[in-house]
Symmetry: C2
């Protein structure tokens, strides 16, 4: 399995010099992402691509290929797997669509492929996928061109049944300043499935948590065992939950319908988190970068009174308590205010205090108070105050780490500046006051989610 | 009321040359936003600010001031209003906090101010607000510096009880490529409230729709009449719905608690839309740029099969129908595919078709089909395909306008590119497949919302 992500020799099968050829994008991605091993190209038509000769005979390929990436018409795939596996290749990434998701003929081909795989003990990703993106080894096999300047190193592994949804998660995680360790698009999951990748990720030193997008579960028992077996946090976004989606999901990645309540129960039982849409998934992954929330009492600190109201509404709806601030703390805050009068409420409204650096002092004082288990910190910045954003994020991270209590941070103001702050990758930033509160639910044991029609 | 937004002479009361003075930011905003009238500065200390002399005697100010913007300590406000109103000024924007939101003494001062206002028939915005931002006249009275390059002309008026939440909406609308016509921060709503501004906006030629953020309703009957009276779409985000928020809201903008079910009923009865958070509010405002949805049947067209699954789940949960595509349409699509085989499902998965321009031809063919009342169009773009995004948005807008059916567009891929596409201001772009589906609910009569704990 390790070699699947860090191969020395990769063959790309289905390359041609034609500008419309999709296989060439795989080669291009390997080059752009700085893949360290050797790339070997195969296709029917002779020629060169990015300085690589295109081999036209499978027999002429070197025998010690670690991973073969295949993008050929479906009927030709099995023959290639047969020849290459006979010559020693054990790992395949089959990107070709048109298998079981495509009807009876495709199902027949997939069945034959499965039999061959079992006979030769092959590890196959796909078919009907965009394969692997490993930021550490530079193995990037998508047949859509990806941009290395946009896909950052990070500690989150994305394992997705759909390439499109998976890529969308990769983009979103990178924009949030988190980045990815690896991304696997599993497609029809002929051989390798979510359980196999979870097993592998437990040992992956680059991965600290997993975001899983599924449209169907390959093997319920194996999945549950894998979820229980992995010590890292796992966020599961399982879609395909309505009749309307069942047909398209079957056609798309040959996913079967699941008993949703049982699945949710199993995920919670395994100590993991189920979410129902991409907003929740991102909020959960960001939250899980913070320490656990060891009780129900939150402090909310806001520069805008209105955002304090929004956060308090979210806290009420999530079942969190907002205990009053202890008097010594209020005395401390009082000494910082210019008018010398603060309203002693939780949420605390910092509207009259224009010294941004003092905000982090206030946060640290709150975190020291035993009664509070976590802090929601909402701050809008204007104009030159943005020069302090790096300081704010670093201090918040330090306080969080020192006291091991979660502080969920929302930054308001010019969105380009917010995105710039996220890109610094210092500390997770939530996108609205209500998201900053709801995020705290993911840090409880067991996790608590905002109610939606799906949960 | 017209003069409140388009004054010829504005006095800023509470300006000093000190760099910590907040009143100077009001003058700076007026200059940066190109306010066309005359600005007169008043403060206790002599000096100059941005080339304007600071007057030190109220008696020396010209008598024909249209709007006085006041940012002085609360106890000094009434005296200034008294003097200026005696000299003929009828419109005041009082930004000072420390009135009824601040306790008994503040309540007493606010009462005196109300009596004076009634006696002299004054129109007052605030107190405890950041006043008016009018993109047409350049009247921008926020005491926080705003950036004109980030606040674009548009047709949405934002009326908000909280300045912070209002500004956050202004930023978000501008990032969505929609822009604003005007923004009013109403604060404690001593005299002018949501009903007054709705009346005014009905006649405002720059405003096509209204986004209202409220923490309390000043006068239920007047509000209902105003909602019924305005022919433009209104999206109401009423917060302060839990016990946890009631206390802070009272302290923040002196908002009173409301019977939420009655309020929701009244809003629906008036043909307007109530939302429960900022994501919904933005989705609603974007949706309302599209034609109404005249039935329950949607077509979903997606480049990613996974995003088609997400959209189908959202459609199922929203109660939309996804009827099968008529055969002649499928024959047409079939002719475009390279392999010549498509899966005849709704959602339609365009995964095998790599000609982006053809996507809009497919959309137009669907819109022509009587059975469909609206189309959800989900498209991920890669690399150089982004060069076509302007074409896609323009064609989608044309088709929408020609056939008067809504097409909700989701763009996936590199988020910087997505934001660039939004900034073109050609067509609204939704942020996820599920948002693109949920948006359709706002276009039904009566509107249909995704279920949350709040509705």
């Amino acid at each position: 399995m390790e070699k699947l992500f860090h191969p020395e020799k990769v063959a790309v099968i289905g390359v041609s010099p034609s500008p419309e050829n999709l296989g060439r994008n795989i080669v291009w991605n390997l080059i752009r992402f700085g893949f360290q091993g050797e790339v070997i190209c195969y296709g029917r038509r002779p020629g060169h691509i990015y300085g690589h000769r295109i081999h036209n005979e499978l027999q002429h390929l070197p025998p010690d290929i670690d991973v073969a990436v295949i993008l050929l018409p479906a009927p030709r795939v099995i023959e290639v797997v047969e020849v290459l596996s006979r010559r020693g290749t054990q790992r395949f990434i089959i990107e070709t669509g048109g298998f079981s998701e495509h009807g009876e003929e495709g199902e027949r081909m997939e069945k034959a492929l499965r039999e061959l795989a079992h006979k030769r003990k092959l590890r196959i990703v796909g078919p009907n996928c965009i394969g692997v993106t490993d930021r550490a080894s530079g193995l990037v096999t998508s047949f859509m061109p990806l941009d290395p300047s946009k896909i950052h190193h990070g500690s989150v592994a994305v394992i997705a049944q759909s390439g499109g949804v998976g890529l969308s998660y990769v983009n979103l995680l990178c924009e949030e300043g988190l980045g990815i360790s690896k991304f696997v698009s599993m497609g029809n999951k002929l051989i390798l499935n979510e359980a196999d990748f979870l097993h592998h990720l437990e040992k992956d030193p680059n991965t600290q948590m997993v975001l899983l997008y599924l449209e169907g579960i390959s093997n319920g028992r194996a999945f549950y065992q894998a979820l229980k077996g992995i010590s890292k946090p796992v966020v599961v976004h399982k879609a395909n939950v309505t009749e309307a989606s069942a047909q398209i999901a079957r056609f798309h990645t040959a996913a079967m319908a699941t008993r949703e309540e049982i699945l949710t129960g199993a995920i919670v039982q395994a100590g993991k988190i189920r979410v129902v849409n991409n907003n929740q998934a991102l909020a959960a992954v960001k939250a899980l970068h913070l320490p656990p929330l060891k009780g129900n009492n939150l402090a909310i600190v806001s520069r805008s009174g209105g955002e304090a109201v929004l956060a308090a509404d979210a806290a009420g709806n999530m079942g969190f308590q907002l205990p009053p601030y202890p008097q010594p703390f209020l005395d401390f805050v009082q000494s910082l205010f210019r008018a010398g009068v603060i309203r002693p409420t939780n949420p605390l409204d910092l509207g009259d205090l224009f010294d941004i650096v003092k905000y982090t002092e206030i946060i640290e004082e709150i975190v020291r108070e035993e009664i509070f288990h976590g802090v929601v910190f909402l701050i809008q910045l204007f104009d030159r105050e943005w020069e302090l954003v790096e300081y704010i994020m670093k201090r918040t991270r330090e306080i969080c780490q020192t006291y091991q209590k979660p502080i969920s941070l929302f930054l308001g103001g010019d969105l380009q500046k917010v995105m710039g702050a996220k890109a610094l990758g210092i500390y997770p930033v939530f996108n609205s006051p209500h998201e900053a509160v709801e995020a705290m639910g993911f840090l409880l044991t067991p996790p608590r989610l905002p109610k939606t029609p799906w949960n």
